[in-house]
Structure formats: C-alpha cells, structure tokens
Symmetry: C2
Subunit: 430 residues, 2 copies
Amino acid sequence: MKKLNTSPLSGMQELLPTEQAVFDQLKNNISDVYHHYGFLNIETPIIERTDILLAKAGGDTEKQIYMVSKTDESADSADQALRFDHTVPLARYVVEHNNDLAFPFQVTQINRNFRGERAQRGRFREFYQCDADIIGREKLPIAYDAKVISCIYAALKTFNLPKMIIRISNRKVLAGFLSALNLTDKASDISGIIDHAEKVPAEKTRAALAELGLSNELVDKVCAFMFTKGSYDEVELRLRGILGDLTAVAEGLSELKEVTTVLEAEKTSNYIIDFMIIRGLDYYTGTVFETMLEDYREIGSIASGGRYENLASNFTDQKFPGVGGSIGLTRLFFILREYNLIDMSSANPVDYIIFPITPNEYEDAFELAAELRAKGKSVDVDLSDRKLGDKFNRAGKIADYAVVVGNDEVISQKYTAKDLKTGGTSELQL
Amino acid sequence: MKKLNTSPLSGMQELLPTEQAVFDQLKNNISDVYHHYGFLNIETPIIERTDILLAKAGGDTEKQIYMVSKTDESADSADQALRFDHTVPLARYVVEHNNDLAFPFQVTQINRNFRGERAQRGRFREFYQCDADIIGREKLPIAYDAKVISCIYAALKTFNLPKMIIRISNRKVLAGFLSALNLTDKASDISGIIDHAEKVPAEKTRAALAELGLSNELVDKVCAFMFTKGSYDEVELRLRGILGDLTAVAEGLSELKEVTTVLEAEKTSNYIIDFMIIRGLDYYTGTVFETMLEDYREIGSIASGGRYENLASNFTDQKFPGVGGSIGLTRLFFILREYNLIDMSSANPVDYIIFPITPNEYEDAFELAAELRAKGKSVDVDLSDRKLGDKFNRAGKIADYAVVVGNDEVISQKYTAKDLKTGGTSELQL
C-alpha cells in the first residue's frame, strides 16, 4: 500500500530507464556535435539572484518564475529564483568572467530550465534546453550567424528525422521594409500579425492588417512581403518588385546574403529565406531562424535562434553582440514520440548480462565482464539467487545479449552469447 | 560599468570553460564506468513535493531545504522544494514505477542536488552527486554490496589519484558487538563516539565512553573494537579475542566475509575491513564503506555508501532492500584542486582552430573542419576579421593546434598544424 503520492509533480518529465537511454543518446549527440564545432561547455547555477533574472523580463516570464527560499533564512541572502532560460545566466557569466574568456566566445549550455507554466500536455515546467551561442566583444562578424545555424542543423541531423528545412529571415529587412512604407509606428503590431499568419487563413491576415488602418495597397505589399521566400536572389528580386528601391532594406539584405554565402560554403543546403519568420522574442535584432520538418509542419519549429546586438545591456555598459540557437529537447522528445519519429526500441541500456551459475564461477564471470568492458561494452553480472528463467526474463528487458558462465564454460573458456531478441546464439569473440 | 552584481550566489560552483572541461571529463569518466558496469541512468525532477522530501528527514536536512514557490500560484499546487539528495527521489521513483522496472534494479543518477547550508569555503549549496544503487524487490543478495563497491572504486580509478583505500565495515557487527556487551541502549551515543574517534586523541575517546557510564573494562573492549582493522581473518580473530563467543556478531561477520570474497573474485584488492567506519546516516543497516586517499587522510572520505534494508519504507509497505554508493563530485573536485591532485592544464576543450585568411578560403576551411570532425576532433573555424596575431592569441587559450588556410594551402591541399604549446609545426595528416 502506498502511503504518499509518489507520482512526479505535473509538468515534470520522468522517464523509464529504457526511455531515458534514448533521451540521453539524443542529448549526447547534440553535445558531441556542439563540441566538435568548437563550442565550450559551461554550467551556471540553477539558482540565481532574482534581480538578475528579472532585469529585463516581465509579463509571462515574471509570472512563471519559481521563487526559492530557505526555511532557515540567513540575514544576508538575496532574493533567489530558478533560471528560466540559459541566455540570462550566460549574460551574467560573460560580464562576470569577461577578462578570462577568449572572444569570440563559442559557448554551449545543455541543461534544465524551469518555468511554472500552466500544466498541459506536452508543456513542461522543467525542461532541457541545448543552447549554442557565439559572443563577441564590441563586434561579431555576421558570418558567425551561419556558423550557429550550421551547428544546430548538424546536431539535429543526428536524430535521423524526415527532411528538415531551415527558414531564415532578418529583422532588419522587416524594419527597413516597414520604414520604406512609413509603417514603422505599427511595426510591433504588424510583426505579431506576420508571426501568426501561418496559423490563420490569408483573409484573416488581410483583415487584421486592414484593422490597423492600412490601405488595400499597403495590405497587398505587406502580404506580398510576408509570403516571400526562396533563394537570396529570388527574395531580392521579389523585394525589388514590391519596393522599387532597396535602400531601406540594404543592410538586412547584405546580412542575409552573407549568411547564405557562408552556409553554401559550409554545404548546409537545406535552408530557405522566408520572411514569415519573426521569432517572438524582442531581443533578436538581425538574423532569425527556425527549423521545421517539411512533412510535419504542424509540429512547428524544432530549433530556433538569432542574432542579438547586445547580450548584457541590463548588466553592463560594455557591448557583447551575439548569435545563438537552441534545441528544446524535452518538448522535442515528447513530440517526436507522439509522431513515432524516434525509435524507442533501439537503445537497450546494457549490452551483455552474464549469469554465473554458482559463486564458484564469479571469478571467471568478472574476468569476462572486465574484458567486455575494456572493449567499451556495458556489462551486468547477475548475482541474484533466482532461477535462470527469471534471470533471462529480467535480462530481456534491458540487455541485448546474455552469457551463461557455468562449470563447462570455465573449463573450456568458451562462452556463448544469446541474442535476447532473436533467441539465436553465437560464440562470444574476445 | 556594471549595473548589477554579476557574481554567482555564494555556495554555487561556477567554472571557467577550461576548468569546466576538466570537471566534465571527470563526470563523464564516472558516468562511463557506471554504464559499463550495467547501471541504468535515470533522471528525476529537481523539484519534488515537500511531503515526499521530508517524509523521513528532520534536523539539519529540514532546515537546509530550498522551498520553491511560483509567483503565479495555481490552486492545486502542492508544497514544493528542491531535492537534497538522490536517495529520496529514487525511493519515490521505485515505488511509482516498480511494475515497469527489472529487479535487481541497477540504477545511476548523476546530477545536482541542493542544500542551503551555511556558506563556507569548500561547502556547496548546489552540488553534483554521482550515485550508483542496486535495488531488490523483497530481497537482495549481499554479493551486490561488493558490486557497488567495485564499481565506485573503478570510477575513482579513472581520476589517476594517489593510492586509494576502501574501508569497509558492517553495522550488524557493531550492533551485535554492543548487544553482546549489554550496551544496546547506548548504541547511538557509542556510534557517534566511534564516528569521531579518528579526529580526536584516543584519551578523549576513552573519556567520552567513560562519561556514558562504561566501566574501564568495557571502555577497553569498545576501543579495541573500533581500532580493529585488517583482512577478514584478522578481524575475526581479533573479535574472538575481545568477545570470546562470536554468536552475537555472526550475521554481520558472515556478510563481511561474503563481501570480501566477492571483492577478491572481482580483483578489487585495495580494501580493508575497518570497524571505525560508521557512516553518519541512520538508514544504513549492514555494509558501510568509505574510500580515502592513503597519503591524504585529512581529506576524509572521497566516496561512500552502504546497504539499506528498506529504501522506501516511508512511501509504501512493499519492501525494497538496496545498496548504494556516491561520489560527491563538486566537493571532491574542489578539494583535489586544492591539493593539486588533478591536472588542470591537461584538457584544452578544442583540438584544432582553423584560420581561413579570407572568405575565399571558407569552403576549403569548412571542408577541412568537416574531415577532422569526422575523426572525432573538436574544430573551431575562426571567422573573425581580427589580425592573425590576435587569432593565435585566442587560440592559445582554448586549443591544441592552429591551422592557417590561405591561398597556398588551398592550391596545394597541404595543411600545417601549429602546436600552440610548443610552437612546433607538422604537416596535418588526413
């Protein structure tokens, strides 16, 4: 009989060991790719000063934050809370340690963040984010935007998903476009409308723009803009058709061109320029990108990011421009399972389970285990006194192969591995 | 100018990237060994219900716990707090998921825990613990105690530390010994005195025992007991000398004998039976162990654990006996650095940094990077527009080798790797 409620709190991911092994594999894949791309791992504390976390936040973030307090409160302790993303702690880290860092600072954080959102299916209050950022001191060439995009894309490729497409835009193009049309004062509303355009019928989008007081001609132009996508040359041509003169969007276009040129050089080809991409967060100032599964667009973005002109403006007068991207792994893992897009049966956590028949065989069983471990295998030696059938039953749940070590095997020093899925046997090669 | 205090909160570990790389290497080493020994990784949420965490706690734990609350509190939310160890969440996990687990359940958790202790040097409020546990259903053979000890020891061996010694005792031996002397009612006080005996002069220990009302003869016997150490045969002989009859300690001795027999079979030889080992936590019921560096005994235990008869008695009536051990990595890393026992210079996070001279060389630079990454190397491509000298300066802080890719290299397709430590150069073999 249970004495207490032992379910995890709602909104928290808790996996069985075999599921965890698949999750860990994906996390390690991301971490390996980030590492191979030269990103340095850091870990910041999960608990931060509240004034650091909320220096810029507000709105939902402030409402969703987990405050922390000790029952035994010491006098000097500041207000504390759990971090809700990696970006704010990174800004604090860069300011605090900037004299010891090598800029451009290529940095990754793969860890848990916390948001007390309203609990609902597929939304998590504790979730992994896998961030890759590049931070410059004073300036950072636009080519780095492509580097982050390539790296995130390379990480996702390890998941063996159906065809992915990277959608890229640049906030400066939108800002220049709206300025050329004298719509700068409505930029925030129009951004919101573009951001939602994919989820509503075109008529609704037009109506929303008209409601802002835009003439039919301006509605046409804004709609033509937001549905613009293609190669760099294609979108430039299209913009020229809408605006006539490209002066107002020249800076944004030039950045887009550089990003796509570097992506081509890196042979990261599955991208498209797409002016419907906005990214909700208002700290992005240039390049923005999202990644989608082409045949599963209803899933939405599976990884995203962008350029921010100044990472740490709330903490210091020094300027740290940066570009970063993130894979929200906990949510992504949940969704990919819903869509059966990851193979949950693939990863048995254990390679071999060895069954010594009696304690007389322990020494040989341990020696065999040591040999297999030295080859990088995961090996469990079952020391329980249960029946062999029960042992095989347990083994089948977590391992690929079982090896019985009895008197005969000790004498012959020949071992047979039993494939626990097929039942087939073969001599163990050491 | 800084606008806010950007230092991490006191008691939190925050490392520079090159330090983090060493820490990560140690953590990965532990994780790899646990995995190779067949332990399955799980992750429980960092936030738990307070009634789960405090079902058994009390005293210091209760005072040190971090309570968690949302600013936007929903009606159904239970009292929540940050976990202070892995054992309580593991107990909850085993009860919750026991129908889906394969017993004996060999499980590892390598993650952060939280205790709001008084801040002092070398004490952390947020710290990694690397736990390995084996949980049985209804029963669990004593041989598994040896398995946990061997596995923890194998993990520590990857640190390349000076000679380690595993000190092993068994709570049942102490309990039986005190019962034979009719001292069971003073067991708790005497355990505390033995637990501290190593840190105080022998005279103080004798005085403390005398204060409990023990006769001189009993003080002699208890002291003889606590200073008993050696092989199994040696301690059995010694105990026989003190007690005459071994009936009261027979069960504990038999368990100790089995543990040492299995350790011998596993060729884990650096152990000693040592009755001074108590382990403070009162949930241990049989085997207890600590690991020390023989020449740095002042450091104290670097990894410890033991057998608990019932993991989840506060949560369920089902019986789950277990044995586990833990490496407190954050504190251990801090101490090993203090004693210069880990090489902090060894791990450059990046293997190669490539310098394309102009964007014309990007394509070849990226191709070279891809080839090196395919070989498992970490490769950064420096896209900044700084002077080559500045680039080398940055590279020297984080990488082993630099490779310049200019027009000549592109034409010849021959690349030279410069060793950033020695300044020597050699042709890059691909």
